[in-house]
Symmetry: C2
Subunit: 337 residues, 2 copies
Amino acid sequence: MGDVSFTEDELAETLRKILGGDHPGVRLGPGDDAALVDPSRHLTVLTVDMLVEGVDFERATATPRDVGYKAIAVNVSDVAAMGGSPRFALSAAGFPETTETGWIIELFAGMREAADEYAMAVVGGDLSRADRVVLSVTVTGEVPDGGAVMRTGARPGDRIVVTGALGAAAGGLRLLRAPAQSVAHVIGTPWARELVAAQSRPAARLGEGRTLARHGARAMIDVSDGLTLDLARLCRAGGVGAAITLGVVPVADTVRLLGEVMPVEPLALALEGGEDFELLAALPPDAVEGATKDLHERFGTPLTDIGEFREGSGLVAVGSAGSERPLEPKGWDHFGS
Amino acid sequence: MGDVSFTEDELAETLRKILGGDHPGVRLGPGDDAALVDPSRHLTVLTVDMLVEGVDFERATATPRDVGYKAIAVNVSDVAAMGGSPRFALSAAGFPETTETGWIIELFAGMREAADEYAMAVVGGDLSRADRVVLSVTVTGEVPDGGAVMRTGARPGDRIVVTGALGAAAGGLRLLRAPAQSVAHVIGTPWARELVAAQSRPAARLGEGRTLARHGARAMIDVSDGLTLDLARLCRAGGVGAAITLGVVPVADTVRLLGEVMPVEPLALALEGGEDFELLAALPPDAVEGATKDLHERFGTPLTDIGEFREGSGLVAVGSAGSERPLEPKGWDHFGS
């Protein structure tokens, strides 16, 4: 490594100590050819996400602990969007030769921190060399048979609901990427710190996902790439269209404050920003009130009814006077131009 | 992409078609937030391996189909080394912007080919951008409770056995990396093709792993990084030492032929070359004969008794006259100098 010469085995052993400790269901943790865990009586949920330096994070602005934390959280969010519960994680990580051992250790400490927060265990991994840091995390989870909420089930007439507020993660990214001098006067304020935290430490809506599933959500997705893009995915998967009322889209207060000091359009960040990891779901109209009350009481999380699924395809935006216009899905696309 | 402009969703949909089709146990394949699979009644085996361009393969010498195939096979080998059976795979892949879509499709076709060979399904994945191609594959599997073979169980007196023959994968790599002119006269020969195939299309010893487990293997590992390095891992995990008789180490015939045309030492490749994905196990002495016969009859795979585990630590090499000398574990280390 950059500072100390470690063999792969020695580094792996150090990282195992960070990840280690007894955890229910883990028969054999990191350090063998594979991990062994107890099977679930429910269906198994499997998901994977890769974070790449220079694409998904910058080492100049993200701490390794945040990167590790986020790598777990974004996968937990995918499990949440199925209405499931996470159980175990595996990590595969590649590092440039110049990476300091301390940086790697902090990355794994961040994974451990998030795993603890979601009552999971990191049970195995792989270490490799790479030009830039790359971290691929797989999460397994479980969901009762018949209880999973896929992307496909939205029906015309279903309400479009979204948890929490949107735009903060994208706002945090704008703040992190702004020239230091231009944001020096706000960077220490509570709302600016909140914006940065929304970007670097996203919260997976785990309990909210299970609750929405119990309230009869017919389709669900986490808002990872942008509200309009992820809504378009629900529409395509369900063979339906959608109309959202722009005036009621929950824009994070912090993004409105950011809009006062930087040239950003708060509503655009909320619609297209991505990485908020809020849950977007299709609920039968008569389930909205109960779900809203339940989410508020259990988690203090708002649920906002932002529109309805319709016959047809594509998105429309409903303006303040009830006028409608087509809404082009925009957001984060790894392969877009 | 390099040739055609694809969105991430469009590319993902194309790849899903390659991976698709009904598969027992898959409730929901690629395309949602996560995959859903039936749980096992046995213990769950979890493993992950990352292949990085420029480190684990070169695009100049490896076809994308081979890279995809190998990414699955190396994980299946880890499951085999536990005595388990693979069931499902997830892939996370990053590609440079210049990567041709056809290359990506071939990579996934290779994963599909290997998955079919091992009766598995690729149930999900993630696509990302990266500076160089990086492919992280996670495989889940199962093993009966009490039937898993870990790295820890070797006892003094146990025999050291290894499946197949060693050195061919490393020999194939030497051949691929040699200046074309220097190997032009051999590159089309059957043995040279066999060497290259050993490197680019490794076979996971799946049935052999289960059979060795049934015959009472007390410790097992796949030879991914080199015989001596992986043997040292079994020793460290078991708190034992090991003595191997150099004269009986099964060196692949193809490597001996390579030694006649290139300056390579066949025994050194067998001891330190890595990537053969043969299984190295600790067997009680009275189990060796039955296991050998069984492996031969079922799979046509040789099993060679190359030495014994001993009290103490470290490796010794036993020479032809019975003389012993310390043997330094050498092999592939991603973080070594």
